[in-house]
Symmetry: C2
Subunit: 334 residues, 2 copies
């Protein structure tokens, strides 16, 4: 690989996204993208006694599914990157413990899936084996319970709030293959513009997305329309508006190619999800379901996938801290 | 790099650990290794209002210190790996947000420091720039509060319990340099033998350490005495005993070269830390302080550093789950 510009890496041997898998909850299965997901659950428990165990079972299922679809034996997987929103990423560790795969835990909040694609690509291009997996999960109930209020309270949600996607996604990366290829990677820097409202994550994370997108375009010398699609992970309707407005102010017209997985996941009018979807699984499942399908069908030939994360917890908010954001980007081309 | 055996990578261009920095709390500064640490704090607050903010300030300070010691300008650092024990790794994100460095969050519980060394080495050997940083932190007070009981309760601690090290460590990795070199890496698989006692982490993590050590020795064809030191991260006295006993049962005599950072950090008789030190900073500071000094002075010429992590949280324990362990190893040679 070669570093180009300030913080972008160009791979010598583009890595193939060999296969993806996605599993979602009932609300996501009622949304406009339902037909693209591999597994749609009927309830939030997935046969388990707790939401945390259900989330672990989802990530286990998405990895089993992607292994089956890719036909790569588990013994041929050289490493697995995964992380999630639960404290100490327990969805990943409990979901993954039965696989005999070297495991590297990552935490990028909702940017985790793309962080996994990015690190997996760097490792494979560098020679660390033939196959890697990137996986993540999130669960509306376990996330609300942990970050906000007990669901049983029935608290009202402000219009700026987003709906954590219940689901899991996994992708098998291959050193050799026929694409879609990960060609360029831009890891992000932390951006914190002082937003403190934990019910307005889109606003907190949008500046990091803008920073990474513009850095990527500058580093590669590409214009926004080089891409058929520039897609952020879970900024939702409010964050999407901020990205369009602030990138325009910096001289970048993204309108024609830009959208957000959190906007695409739910029907804003019918599903009462306010500013849209969020969570690690938002970007993960919308990419692994919808966008991977579009790439395979050649309806999209070049996309920049930019996942954002809010690097806070409930204690930091209680202690008056603002919300540091981050965004990692991978360029995916046929 | 080249994959050798089942799960070990041999670097083509061994990566230099250019410099390390360590900062510790008062109790650690009263222990036998005090003179090896760069900064010793006088209290647990470090001038901040909360333990979490103090921990963030420690990781910020250790990175500032290692940058200063290494004389590498911050703008030359290509990436930074960091993570910690706080929910959603907020010590790292808040401590790092002021640095303008591409940030990749990792979570390996107490294995985080070695996971950072391992990933940083893979990236640099693969061509992803010239310099990287691996950093971590932990804090006795923030960890007890989060994982066990409020400190104000004054709960008794069982003899199997360990004392979370208050501190932070950071290392600058360089593509080119004069060593000490990271030459081989063995990322670990999750091992869960069913231990459920959150006050007996050494027992929960020891099987993962044994698995990674023996895999590394088999993959490289080395005997234990190839190394001057095989050092685990924070198994403590009980975990150390288990490693010696179970590895012997599998035909590996580690006695003459094996020790544990959690055993070395505190004086068992005088400091009332029961089974020894633990936490991300245990392996981080003992390596960055004591062992890096020994390597630079050529008193140790070959060491295998094996950090272990317990991938659980308080919710998983409350829900009756056992404790999945993991261990990552890096081979460091002159």
């Amino acid at each position: 690989m070669k570093k180009i510009g300030n913080q972008t890496f160009k791979l010598d041997n583009p890595v193939t996204i060999l296969e993806t898998a996605s599993i979602v909850g009932k609300k996501e299965a009622d949304g406009p993208l339902a037909k693209y997901f591999d597994v749609c659950l009927e309830d939030e428990f997935f046969g388990e006694k707790t939401w945390e165990k259900a989330e672990s079972k989802m990530i286990k299922t998405s990895i089993e599914t992607v292994l089956k679809k890719s036909k790569v034996p588990v013994s041929s997987i050289d490493f697995l990157f995964a992380g999630d929103l639960l404290n100490q990423c327990i969805s990943s560790s409990f979901g993954i413990r039965d696989f005999e795969i070297p495991f590297l835990g990552i935490f990028g909040a909702c940017s985790t899936f793309v962080e996994g694609l990015l690190l997996g690509s760097l490792l494979l291009d560098g020679g660390a084996g033939n196959y890697g997996i990137a996986a993540t999960s999130s669960h509306f109930c376990s996330a609300e319970k942990q970050f906000r209020f007990p669901l049983e309270l029935g608290n009202q949600r402000p219009p700026t709030s987003q709906w954590t996607v219940t689901g899991s996604a996994a992708a098998v990366l291959a050193k050799d293959g026929l694409g879609p290829y990960i060609t360029h990677l831009t890891p992000g820097k932390i951006v914190d513009k002082g937003i403190k409202d934990a019910n307005n994550m889109g606003s907190a994370m949008a500046p990091a997305a803008i920073s990474t997108i513009i850095t990527h375009l500058k580093d590669t010398g590409r214009s926004p329309t080089y891409y058929d699609a520039i897609i952020t992970g879970d900024l939702g309707h409010i964050g999407k508006g901020i990205v369009l407005e602030l990138s325009k102010a910096e001289g970048y017209q993204l309108n024609s190619v830009y959208n957000d997985c959190g906007v695409l996941m739910f029907d804003k009018d019918k599903q009462d999800t306010h500013s849209g979807g969020s969570g690690c699984a938002c970007c993960g499942t919308v990419f692994s379901g919808y966008f991977y399908n579009q790439l395979k069908q050649k309806k999209i030939k070049r996309m920049l996938l930019v996942a954002t994360g809010a690097l806070m917890n409930s204690t930091s908010s209680q202690q008056g801290e603002s919300i540091p954001g981050i965004a990692h980007a991978v360029s995916i081309e046929l």
